[in-house]
């Protein structure tokens, strides 16, 4: 395993990840483990680089006012705690189980496909509970496809917080962003409009990655050369992917997504079964 292989592999993972909307971590960790990096090291080193791969689009969404910063700050209390606990669990449990957790959790990404069929405008008449109102969880953004300002309200913050702790736990354990899972919570529980939900989830991923990384870096699992190579490669790859994305058809993306996801799940199950 050498620097060039890691940079190129991570670039490929970042590229594919940003094309199909699956975080770079979910792709780069299985590939690193196929290349022979021990799973825990792959998890620890790729988690830091999530800060880099998520920040480019997070910055763009924030400036376009798609991100709900107040909702993000509230939910981050929960994901940050979850990620710290999750990363600590990873240090303690045998790798064999982590492969199966990884495979099981990747399956939550199938939500990404079903989601495309949902409506893209927020439903009217959402009744806010007391906590959500107290937290001022509402906002407005300009929707390009509708050519108008869309305002929305967020509900059930009391359920969304604890649910995000589970998302953070999984992210910290597996070194991934758990974006699909976060988006599902935002839309199904908190009733965020899809665009706000993607943007806010992307924003939170950087903070969750930092929280998990605080545990991993202190454990000595982070190798600066490995982590640096992944970060440089994955960021270049995901930038390239986001350039190509508008030129690809939805059908191609969906097929690619399914193929990659199923391959990664099978790979991780196989690794789990064959590891001692």
């Amino acid at each position: 395993m050498d620097v060039v292989t890691i940079v190129l592999t991570s670039a490929f993972a970042g590229f594919l990840g940003s094309l199909i909307g699956l975080g770079g971590g979910a792709i780069v960790i299985p590939i690193l483990s196929i290349l022979g990096v021990p799973l825990k090291q792959a998890i620890a080193n790729s988690m830091i680089t999530l800060i880099a791969t998520s920040s480019g689009s997070a910055s763009a969404y924030v400036r376009e006012r798609l991100t709900n910063i107040k909702a993000a700050m509230y939910l981050e209390i929960f994901t940050v705690i979850g990620a710290i606990v999750g990363a600590t669990i990873t240090l303690l449990v045998p790798s064999k189980y982590l492969y199966f957790f990884f495979a099981a959790f990747l399956s939550s990404s199938f939500y990404g496909i079903g989601r495309k069929m949902l409506t893209s405008t927020p439903r009217d008449g959402i009744r806010q509970d007391k906590l959500s109102r107290w937290l001022e969880l509402e906002g407005a953004y300009y929707d390009e496809s509708l050519d108008k300002e869309v305002s929305y309200k967020i509900a059930r913050a009391y359920l969304g917080g604890p649910a995000m702790m589970i998302a953070g736990l999984a992210a910290g354990m597996l070194g991934i962003g758990a974006g699909a899972f976060k988006v599902a919570i935002h839309e199904l529980i908190l009733k965020m409009p899809p665009k706000v939900s993607s943007a806010t989830s992307n924003f939170i991923i950087g903070m969750t990655a930092l929280a998990g990384s605080t545990v991993f870096i202190a454990s000595g699992l982070v190798n600066v050369v490995l982590a640096g190579s992944i970060a440089v490669g994955a960021t270049i790859g995901s930038l390239a992917g986001s350039r190509l994305l508008p030129k690809m058809s939805d059908k191609t993306i969906r097929m690619l997504f399914l193929a990659v996801l199923i391959y990664l799940i099978l790979q991780m199950v196989y690794k789990g079964v064959t590891s001692s």
Partner: protein, 124 residues
């Protein structure tokens, strides 16, 4: 001119932090190849594995090492430190912003996130 909002500030922090850290990491990778004369990554290389007990003391160590006697390990460590500091500074900026607009509810919420992260960076 439009008033600078929290969104703008956070957007710039994220982009500048990540871009700077990636530039430093690329420089570190070049140093690594020049120094080692090989591109092989040695996973058991202890020099490349940080194990900071206190992240803030580690920042000072890494910075003084880069300024005094730069080598691939310290340069790449500096890049990673900057990467980890990017979301951390984003939280600090949010606290300042909410305090400026006297939204004390959100000052407390952001301070909670800040406190958890800080504790996790110091206590191990």
């Amino acid at each position: 001119m439009r008033r600078l909002t929290l969104e703008d500030v956070i957007g710039y922090i994220l982009v500048i932090g990540v871009a700077t850290s990636l530039l430093i990491e690329s420089a570190g990778l070049a140093l690594y190849v020049a120094d080692r004369g090989a591109i092989e990554i040695d996973l058991s290389d202890l020099e490349a594995c940080a194990r900071p007990r206190d992240f803030f003391a580690y920042i000072i160590d890494v910075t003084s090492s880069v300024l005094g006697n730069p080598n691939y390990a310290s340069v790449m460590a500096l890049g990673l430190v900057l990467l980890m500091l990017t979301p951390y500074i984003r939280v600090v900026a949010s606290v300042v912003y909410f305090a400026f607009y006297r939204n004390y509810k959100y000052v407390v919420i952001t301070l909670i996130v800040f406190a958890i992260l800080t504790a996790s960076l110091i206590v191990h």
